[in-house]
Symmetry: C2
Subunit: 288 residues, 2 copies
């Protein structure tokens, strides 16, 4: 074949990658070529548009650092991360649904006893969170490892302010009790924009989109014999629920962050002023 014209180029590239020794590399390469060429054939980019695309990808790469992953933001904002998440977590009905992991997990988060206050230096209004970990039939799972993390009242995570020397806060690791329960105190988080001072931010602007995520708390729950659950619980009523910039929302993950005033908290604490409470039951899918 010595003729790589508009009619023949796609087949020529497919022929070439058909030699990949590893069958999965071959499969992914072939699919990539077919879909990428179909995209190009549909939009028929001018040479200037192609150059723009090369520049966009180059700048996206340049934006990546130890603390910033612009290609993950691109994947998130094009719905690819949620699609990959969905494909990899086809849980049976009855199991709590998953959503994106996000960039703000810290493996070094401290362990806490149930009942602890994890707010650390975060500012915000008091919030009481109680969870119950069960299997898909509602039977409690004791000793499940529950990781929690969330933003402060301004929408910033502790990790975004490490340069201020304030350390980790608003995150921690709990074990569920014999009844599958855990609870903790913290501050109510906030909706927040994803970092939008880079190429992805410019893309969102060009697409007429805002960069916000609705208010949520992250949970990652691991229990023997069950699939790992990575999810958020979103605040009911949030104005960004219908337009989460990373498409992370699922109806079943939206719950009332209940507004309270004074009185007694569920753990007996005497309260003064405004506070909030959230309860949720996390049902883990079986391992196989």
């Amino acid at each position: 074949m010595r003729e790589y014209g508009e009619a023949t180029i796609t087949d020529a590239v497919l022929d070439r990658v058909a030699n990949a020794p590893d069958s999965r590399v071959r499969q992914i390469s072939e699919a990539l070529v077919r879909h990428l060429h179909a995209f190009i054939r549909e939009v028929e980019p001018t040479e200037a548009e192609w150059e723009w695309g090369i520049r966009f990808l180059t700048e996206t790469g340049r934006m990546c650092s130890e603390t910033r992953q612009e290609f993950i933001l691109l994947s998130d904002t094009l719905g690819v991360s949620m699609l990959v998440d969905a494909i990899n977590h086809r849980f049976p009905s009855g199991a709590t649904e998953t959503t994106v992991f996000g960039p703000f997990y810290a493996a070094a988060a401290p362990d806490f006893e149930s009942g602890a206050d994890i707010r650390g230096h975060l500012k915000g209004r008091p919030m009481y969170v109680e969870g119950r970990v069960t299997d898909v039939n509602g039977l409690p799972l004791a000793g499940a490892v529950v990781d929690v993390w969330h933003s402060d009242e301004e929408g910033f995570y502790d990790l975004q302010r490490l340069d201020q020397g304030t350390g980790l806060a608003g995150r921690g690791r709990f074990l569920s009790g014999a009844d599958g329960r855990f609870h903790f105190w913290t501050v109510r988080p906030s909706p927040y924009p994803i970092p939008d001072d880079g190429p992805v931010g410019r893309m969102l602007k060009a697409q007429g989109r805002h960069p916000f995520r609705p208010e949520h708390i992250h949970f990652m729950i691991v229990a023997p014999g069950h699939r790992k659950l990575v999810t958020h619980i979103f605040a009911a009523g949030d104005k960004y629920l219908d337009s989460d910039v990373v498409f992370g929302v699922k109806k079943s993950l939206v719950e009332e962050y209940q507004a309270r005033h004074g009185g007694h908290a569920p753990d007996g604490r005497v309260m003064d002023g405004d506070w909030f409470s959230l309860e949720y039951e996390f049902r883990l899918a079986p391992a196989s």
Copy 2:
């Protein structure tokens, strides 16, 4: 919509980008989302494979510098550059075909009188090149600006050895004469591998591909009232013609680099030892 699951996520993203104020941005965004999601749905990447993809793109970005454009190499080696080239140059029959521009053009190339030797410091065997610039009917075009560039006998361009302080060589700019003709002396180039010490090189290896381009000389020809022609003339018989790593070959662009020994060159020069000659007629498409 508050349910971004496997069944609904693609439509949700399409709905979102449908708000792009600019219709071309909207069109490209919608097509990108459709084809990208179709790719993901077909290959069903594991989470580890998705992470690998993010890492591949990040490393490709990191490889880019003033003198290296790894995303263009990626576009080239996946046949995207040639497809974009074909879409943008649907010339009428009779016009010389185009191929990829490549990364080695230099706007600062020197002007030469027809007949000059452009080899500069490049090593290689003497080569005489004669061209004729015409319209699609074969009528000569006088005063066309003809840019020429090529590698040395080891497959390196002058630009790849600028750090050795040797400057530009093996390139230059000519004007066609009243009969549309130009000719020059230089050295015969060589097949060469594209830079393969980065992510694209690793991709080629995983796909079971070599990184070579067949031997060629670049031409860019501009004449008033005609479409710009960017092309190569490939050496007939080259072993990489059927497997050019960037899919740049077209039958009509393959021509004999004729082997000669001693005697007189077409311009009267008395030759000693081995040399080569190439003749080609470049037919430019009309401007509209």
